[in-house]
Amino acid sequence: MSLGPYASFIVTSYAAAALVVVILIGWIVLDYRNQTQRLRELDRSGVTRRSGLSAMDAP
């Protein structure tokens, strides 16, 4: 496969797309870790949710 005279543009597009997607995934994974860790900390400090009700059921 030859990319012709504009190879750098093609490669840059694909690389940029990959980079942005990787950043998105990284952000989501880190955010997940953060939130679960904070939940665990809150759990340890003795604050628990009223059972059955969700945190979002409150207005």
Binding site: L3, G4, Y6, S13, R38, R49, A55
Partner: protein, 261 residues
């Protein structure tokens, strides 16, 4: 699994945990096939190898509009049914949609460079995507500006729906403005004349990217639900502090009040 079941965030979380690995797997496979096919797609007789940028530009451009559509439906859910999951869905979609829109702009400008000689041309299609991108950023700023998520949700929902109505008007005006200044759009994007050897990889990539969005969106929604849980627990913790004082203040208050009790 009915819609009522999904309404419960706890059940939604359980479902997400079960579905996510499958979705991620399907996304990876589809994108791999799509990349392979686009790598071996023939060159266009006019554009040469640069046509390969299309396989990544078009799915992102499609997603930039699709995500706004998803947010609009979620916003209806927020305003009409006051569904808490709808808030979460709308909020989680915004940064992902903005990222795809950014990619559409970037690849569009990289695609245009060999043809226009500049990275940016005020071409009608790209300009509309740029305005869409600004609206995504504004929406994200709105989410960030308000501390209380349910209040922010209603404001964001109104803005999203107004945007959904306005976007076609903006698109039309930009088209009109553009033709006023230059007779024909420089970029000719395939349309129905697209050859089958391009169409199949493009479709695979589009489906792959859509699956990628669904995967990321579900994961981001899960994060958002957890974030709200953390928030409400923290608020409970704050009010609990006040309660524990009633017991606690006595200890460093020997001299204070025997009478107050």
């Amino acid at each position: 699994m009915t819609l009522i079941d999904l309404a419960n965030p706890t059940r939604f979380l359980a479902l997400t945990t079960r579905v996510l690995p499958w979705l991620a797997g399907a996304t990876v496979i589809l994108l791999a096939i799509g990349l392979y096919q686009s790598a071996y797609a023939p060159d266009d007789y006019q554009q040469g190898a640069t046509v390969k940028i299309m396989f990544i530009h078009v799915p992102n451009a499609w997603l930039s509009m699709f995500v706004w559509g998803v947010m609009s439906i979620a916003s209806l859910g927020t305003l009409v049914w006051r569904h808490p999951l709808a808030d979460v869905a709308a909020k989680a979609a915004a940064p992902i949609g903005a990222s795809f829109t950014f990619l559409a702009l970037l690849t569009g400008s990289l695609w245009g460079r060999p043809m226009w000689g500049t990275y940016w041309e005020w071409d009608a299609r790209l300009t509309s995507v740029l305005i869409l991108f600004l609206m995504y950023l504004g929406l994200m700023a709105l989410w960030r500006a308000v501390d209380d998520p349910s209040r922010a949700a209603r404001a964001a929902a109104v803005l999203t729906l107004v945007g959904a109505i306005n976007l076609p008007i903006i698109k039309f005006s930009v088209d009109w403005w553009n033709t006023l200044h230059q007779p024909a759009s420089v970029m000719r994007m395939g349309g129905s004349t697209l050859d089958k050897s391009f169409l199949i990889p493009l479709l695979v990539m589009a489906i792959g990217f859509t699956l990628l969005f669904v995967t990321l969106h579900l994961a981001a929604m899960r994060n958002e639900i957890l974030r709200r849980r953390v928030r409400s627990l923290q608020m409970m913790q704050a009010s609990r502090v006040a309660f524990s004082n009633e017991v606690g203040t006595g200890s460093h208050q020997e001299n204070a009040s025997t009478g107050a009790a």
